[in-house]
Symmetry: C2
Subunit: 118 residues, 2 copies
């Protein structure tokens, strides 16, 4: 069993801030790393490990595994293992995971806006 650190991302002392500040808390949950990209792809439905890896092109298997485990631990995605040969593992957003959609949409809008003023 892989040891997962307590924190979602690397917040040294932002922990205290996150406690009282839901937006910072949320940002710590899905900000940075690959979490958001993974959620973006999963928002259209479940995907297998290999499919995610393909979509994320440059991610290493190690990283993908770590990120998925984090998201699973934080109840944002579910992991379903099928007892087959070869193995099949599917990842899907949880109910609250799907609720990230408005955030993603707003991020998308803003991202497009910001690119223009580059």
């Amino acid at each position: 069993m892989t040891k997962i650190k307590e924190t979602s991302t690397n917040f040294s002392n932002k922990k205290a801030l996150a406690e009282e500040c839901p937006e910072v808390y949320a940002s710590n949950m899905i900000g940075g790393q690959w979490s958001l990209a993974i959620c973006c792809y999963l928002i259209n439905g479940k995907l297998r490990f290999g499919e995610l890896k393909k979509k994320l092109e440059n991610i290493t298997e190690r990283m993908l595994t770590l990120q998925l485990r984090r998201l699973e631990r934080d109840k944002i995605i579910t992991r379903t293992v099928y007892a087959e040969v070869p193995p099949r593992v599917e990842y899907e957003l949880t109910e609250i995971g799907y609720k990230l959609k408005p955030i993603i949409e707003e991020l998308e809008k803003w991202g497009k806006l910001h690119k223009k003023i580059l």
Copy 2:
């Protein structure tokens, strides 16, 4: 003059992803680190360096400076220096910086939701 690295956050190869994916791009801009927290405080109006430092309690001056410089470079905040003694420097969100508000609001909603299911 402090050298600021090219990247907004630490995206190794997420760069490619961010190019075609505005939401990931946006997440790279404000996700992680202290960026979002800073924007949260500035959304209510301009603040001085010391005021930000106070609100962010645990941040070091060095870190705060770095984050502010990044945000300034990315046109999310403006930095105004007043030629006074003692010095006064104010930080304020730019137009596009203020447009982060919907994102922050959605993050806040989701954060509160997620805390409940802990």
